[in-house]
């Protein structure tokens, strides 16, 4: 079996989960690019008030809709559970705002295909980040330090939405934090479950739109609060 056929077969068993909330402006382009990989694209419309659902229904392989907005963590878990129910062997999480590069998806999946690890985490600090404001850079660096202290996991980028999981790893993922704190929770789950992980260099391209719509640095406090609260209230 040659490499191309193998990749094609494996990509058909791969599900790319795209959580989307009011992302109609760039969702069409993102899905079209993702479909070039031949993977199944699962869009989870997280209660959008624009035409995100219609666009996703037209373009994506599968579309799920939250009747009310529940947050990115909740949408990811929904997408992961649905993908597993459809027999996904590999699951990738990918942001809908166009910051991630489709070319990174096969790169992220390769170590899992080869059986080297269960989880691949994208790292913009090992790869490149174009147009990242220094405030964002500082906040993300602090996030790395926080993750190292709270979870004991050494990463270079703890809050990157581009990740890949094997089926076995995805079955152990149960995100309970609905908001953005899910990224820290995910690292905890990976650590506690003893999953083998690897960081892979990826590119992040910040645009004016993604920066306007993205997280404010002040949200970092909210994320830390939600995460710490979840650890005390479990």
């Amino acid at each position: 079996m040659n490499e191309t056929v193998l990749s094609s077969e494996l990509m058909q068993q791969t599900f790319i989960v795209v959580p989307a909330y009011n992302e109609n402006d760039c969702l069409e382009r993102v899905i079209r690019e993702l479909r070039l990989t031949r993977a199944n694209v699962v869009v989870v419309d997280d209660g959008s008030t624009d035409e995100t659902y219609d666009t996703a229904r037209r373009e994506a392989t599968f579309v799920l809709r939250h009747v009310v907005n529940r947050g990115q963590g909740a949408a990811l878990q929904t997408g992961i559970e649905f993908s597993l129910s459809q027999g996904a062997r590999f699951i990738v999480t990918f942001d809908a705002d166009g910051q991630h590069q489709v070319e990174d998806v096969p790169r992220l999946l390769q170590p899992i295909y080869r059986g080297e690890c269960d989880v691949c985490l994208g790292s913009r600090f090992l790869g490149e980040s174009i147009g990242m404001p220094w405030v964002r850079k500082m906040t993300l660096r602090l996030g790395v330090v926080f993750t190292r202290i709270s979870s004991g996991v050494k990463l270079t980028d703890a809050h990157n939405g581009l990740r890949a999981f094997s089926q076995q790893a995805a079955r152990q993922i149960c995100i309970t934090l609905d908001g953005m704190a899910h990224a820290s929770e995910l690292i905890d789950i990976i650590s506690h479950a003893g999953l083998i992980y690897q960081e892979v260099p990826v590119s992040i391209r910040y645009t004016k739109r993604s920066l306007t719509k993205g997280q404010s640095p002040w949200n970092a406090f909210r994320i830390v609060f939600d995460y710490l609260l979840s650890r005390t209230s479990k």
Partner: protein, 130 residues
Amino acid sequence: MNNFQVVAIIGLTVLSGATVVAHLRRWMRRGPCVFWCGLWIAAGAACLWPNKMSSVAHLLGIGRGADLVSYCGIVAMLVGFWMVYIRLLRLRREVTLTVRRLAILEAQRVYESGEHSQDDRLESKDEPMS
């Protein structure tokens, strides 16, 4: 008994009665019912015998009975806020689970029944990535 004590005792008696009725109608479990009734009785006792409160306050190293009531009130309020917040978080989690279940069931129904027609998808003429 002064006017304040009369009003307070009437109010606390009504609250105790309402708590017991809530338990009898099965709106409230026995544990919370006992807790709230105990709280109303303690508040009533503090209203009726303020001097006794001062003795208790002295025993605890607090100067006045009124201060003891204030401190207890603040602590009870903070604990109450915390409990309500935790309950709110649980409720939010339950909402998320319900929303998720609905989304997955609906998607499974649509895709397994073939309701989602291929016609409304755009035909992609792009070449797959190598």
